[in-house]
């Protein structure tokens, strides 16, 4: 196999399937057959290709994305932490395991103004709940965390799905 960066696992047919399904899967009894019909393909071929993309991680998963806000989780805090570089993987894994953390990433610092390198998204029904959960993260990190902050979104300025073109 080539180096990961040279590996191009998608052909034109895969890309047509992606374009046909990235906005959602048809809500009909045989959704993969509906996609196949739309694209002039065999349903078996669509299902095999989607299974392959799932196995390769090109599709993260097939399913539903809950709208946290509509479900009552209105206080969504982006918690950010300054963690020693040599321990960040160990702690990142632990923070990701916490049941209320929905995204957890290591990102670059921008010194001097932005010392934070670990991001963990925390959803709660109130800010008090987010702050209580943030204290649980602080407990996990202990002295490995040198500084932290919570950023709340005050306004959605734009929200569109991710799209690729042909």
């Amino acid at each position: 196999m080539n180096a990961p960066n040279d590996f191009r696992p998608l052909d034109d047919t895969d890309r047509r399937i992606i374009q046909a399904t990235q906005a959602g899967l048809p809500l009909t009894a045989r959704p993969y057959h509906a996609v196949a019909e739309q694209l002039g393909m065999e349903a078996e071929d669509v299902m095999q290709r989607m299974q392959r993309m799932l196995d390769l991680g090109i599709i993260r998963r097939i399913g539903a994305v809950p709208n946290h806000y509509a479900l009552g989780y209105r206080a969504n805090g982006m918690t950010v932490w300054d963690v020693a570089d040599d321990r960040i993987d160990e702690f990142g894994e632990q923070v990701g395991q916490l049941p209320f953390v929905t995204h957890c990433y290591q990102r670059p610092r921008h010194l001097p103004g932005w010392p934070y390198n670990l991001f963990a998204m925390v959803h709660g029904k109130t800010r008090e709940e987010v702050e209580a959960k943030t204290r649980l993260i602080a407990d996990v990190l202990g002295e490995a965390s040198r500084a932290c902050d919570i950023l709340y979104s005050s306004r959605i300025l734009k929200k569109t799905g991710l799209r690729i073109s042909a």
């Binding site: 899967l25 349903a43 090109i58 998963r61 894994e93 990102r107 902050d149 929200k159």
Partner: protein
């Protein structure tokens, strides 16, 4: 929300099957029938309790690039800069946040080069610096919102 709403929200965060009649399979899991499951997913989407349903594609695995970027905007320039940033098709999400860095957006591009080009364009058009924070590593999280 009733029991079927909750059962579907909980179960659909996991793997939706790839087979001829996947809604019938989900119906078995939640103790319902195929027609009701399809109608209810449609209703959950219409009511906005689900924001989408289908395959989640991984931008980086498709050769694209995804990043989070932030800017520090003076209040008097905020609306002007919002218009410029939102006008970039590469900007998927954009949030105002309560911090000195008060604008945070997600950039989705077909290539890493396009990501840098978009950032350069935003900096030139707005006159503000963009702090690019592409992920270095993603730590595993489960799918676990339980309603």
């Amino acid at each position: 929300m009733d029991d079927l709403d909750r059962a579907l929200i909980n179960t659909l965060q996991g793997g939706f099957p790839i087979c001829e009649s996947p809604y019938a399979e989900v119906a078995d899991r939640v103790g319902s029938d195929e027609t009701s499951v399809i109608a209810r997913i449609e209703s959950l989407l219409q009511r906005g309790l689900l924001s989408r349903f289908g395959p989640m594609y991984h931008a980086a695995e498709m050769g694209g690039a995804l990043s989070l970027a932030a800017m520090e905007i003076r209040p008097e320039d905020y609306e002007r800069v919002t218009d410029i940033v939102n006008n970039q098709p590469e900007v998927a999400h954009n949030y105002e946040r309560n911090h000195r860095l008060n604008m945070w957006f997600v950039l989705a591009t077909e290539t890493p080069d396009a990501q840098q080009a978009t950032i350069t364009r935003i900096e030139r058009e707005t006159g503000y610096a963009v702090y690019n924070m592409p992920k270095i590593r993603e730590y595993f999280v489960g799918l676990k919102l339980h309603v």
